[in-house]
Amino acid sequence: MTAENSSTAATVHASAHKLFSIWRTWAIATNTFRDLVRQKVFYFMLVFALILIGTSLAMASLSFQGQLQTVMDVCLGAMSVFTMLLAVLSTAMLLPKDMEDRTLYTILAKPVARFEYLTGKLVGVTMILLVATLLMTAAFCVVLHYWQGREIENLQLTETAERAAAAIAKLKVGTFTSTLFGGIGIIFLRAIVCATLTLMLSCFATSWLFTVIVALMMILAGHLVPIARSVWQGPVGGAMDVPFHLAILVRLITVFVPDMQLFNVVDDIAVGASVSADVFLRVAGLGAGYVAIYLLVGYLFFAWREL
């Protein structure tokens, strides 16, 4: 070791330690991203693309009208499910693997706060979800463009000139809309919420299988939250006599589980419904709130955890 290089220590130690360093977090994030990429997670995407093309071809051939709509529904549905699954499965393994391999010790033995570690892991998963969503969106656009052409040909053959012209104009304007891509953005946001939820669970769970099962159950239960809320609030115009144990379950679901239905706007966007900017913003705000809270709770679970 040379004398000049010994100044490295002085330089490093002289600068004040930051409570939260973006660069440390980014180092963990990029490492997580590379880890997930090398786990062949993108083969998952290839499977998606094949299912996408195959299913859309099969269903469209069975459906004698509205093939384009069928393709859109199947693709967006697949994208929803795949991103949620990818989020849960990618995230569930992160902490247990680091603990089992003891790489966690070497990381936390450096001046890395546990909060930075968790945030870095989450940012890494977010990056993989972003790349996955972009790839799936690209594949989706290619398939949709093809079916749009087929639908236009179909309309020209089956409808009167006036109706065909009107329908084709509507089709061209109404297929690749900003609302559609906004809906895909909401799919991506929901995946991040699922990833953060999974990360929070893995901060106290002892096995990754437990984390995956509980996360998937919570996500499933999340789709029942509107029903639970309506039972709690009582249906329109009346009170409901609910057994006590069910009432407790309903309240627990409503309080502790995220309302996943609020992120399901893409089902309506697919049939051409317009979504106002304020709804988009409110859904985005709610999603951001979930991410922040789950990350905080995950930190509280992890901060004093015996390693």
Binding site: V81, F204, V255, Q261, A303
Partner: protein, 318 residues
């Protein structure tokens, strides 16, 4: 300071659960308000209206599907079409109900469901039911099923001109209720993206409602004055028919407006087209026939393309 084993870790877990609880309390009204806002803008599945509440038993199933709701609706739709090929109208009705509940914003589901019920279903009954009384009753039932789909579809998609258009067709062809047909077409014509014929149809069928002929006549004349795009044979025929039945004074009849147009430089072609349409739809006024011939000469229309004018005392059959 001494802490009991695991108590620090437990402290973290308890804090975390408390934060989740606090968040749950905060998010409850936020989510409820957002749900209401989405329902108001008809997003997020279905509105808890009386007609859809009957299917509340499916609500859990729908909710659990999450992001696959639309794709599953498509698969059930395919099954409904298979049921149609198997002539199972009862099963079709159930599947159509499920599909429209799952995807209430998909106009084509409501439209095609109504079509299958009111047209195909009724036709099936007409072809298979021997007893005339039973046949009429069953056909009427199918008409009502079709109407029900359209009305529920309109409830969920109030801006859909297509559903009002189909409703108008249903009232006209199946219920033979021209007043309702006219009202439906009128509604269609006020929705975004409607086709022009909806306005004409609203007026045409209004003309057949006893006591509203004058109103229909006013509408048709307004369409005539609005744009040459509306100058279709049916329009002229209807207007002339109404002029006759309402005994509109001669000086106020449509052909005078067209004669004025014929005298306007640069409008000869439009005027000639309108005059020939008037003649094809029954006009026999001498001034109309003379003006037509004059224009043909002025415009140098070859003899073989000139309209064959009927004799003055002959009218073409109605």
């Amino acid at each position: 300071m001494r802490t009991s084993p695991g108590s620090v870790e437990m402290k973290g877990r308890v804090s975390g659960i408390l934060v989740l609880l606090a968040w749950g309390i905060v998010k409850f009204p936020v989510e409820a308000r957002l749900e209401r806002r989405m329902q108001d803008t008809r997003l997020g599945g279905y509105k808890p209206t009386a007609s859809l509440r009957q299917q509340a038993g499916q609500a859990g199933f729908i909710a659990a599907l999450g992001g696959l709701r639309a794709a599953v609706a498509d698969m059930l739709w395919i099954r409904a079409n298979i049921a149609w090929q198997d002539v199972q109208y009862g099963r079709m009705k159930l599947l159509f109900d499920t599909c429209t509940t799952m995807q209430p914003r998909r106009v084509s589901f409501w439209d095609i469901s109504a079509w299958h019920m009111a047209w195909n279903g009724a036709a099936h009954v007409e072809n298979t039911e021997k007893d005339p009384v039973a046949r009429n009753a069953k056909m009427r039932e199918f008409f009502k099923l079709g109407e029900d789909f359209l009305l529920r579809g309109i409830e969920n998609n109030p801006d859909s001109w297509e559903l009002y258009d189909r409703l108008g067709l249903l009232y006209r062809d199946k219920f033979k209720d021209v007043e309702k047909a006219s009202a439906a077409y009128e509604e269609a014509s006020q929705r975004p993206g409607h086709l022009d014929y909806t306005r004409r149809f609203a007026a045409y069928y209004l003309a057949e409602v006893p006591g509203r002929e004058r109103e229909a006549y006013a509408r048709l004349m307004a369409l005539f004055h609005e744009s040459e795009h509306e100058w279709l044979l049916t329009l002229f025929r209807q207007i002339q028919k109404l002029e006759a039945s309402l005994a509109i004074p001669d000086g106020q009849r449509i052909y005078h407006d067209i004669l004025k147009l014929a005298a306007t430089p640069g409008k000869e072609e439009s005027a000639y087209t309108a005059l020939t349409d008037l003649i094809k739809t029954g006009a026999r006024e001498p001034s109309v026939l003379e003006a037509t011939r004059a224009l043909e000469q002025k415009m140098d229309i070859p003899a073989e393309r000139r309209i064959k004018l009927p004799p003055h005392d002959q009218r073409p059959p109605e």
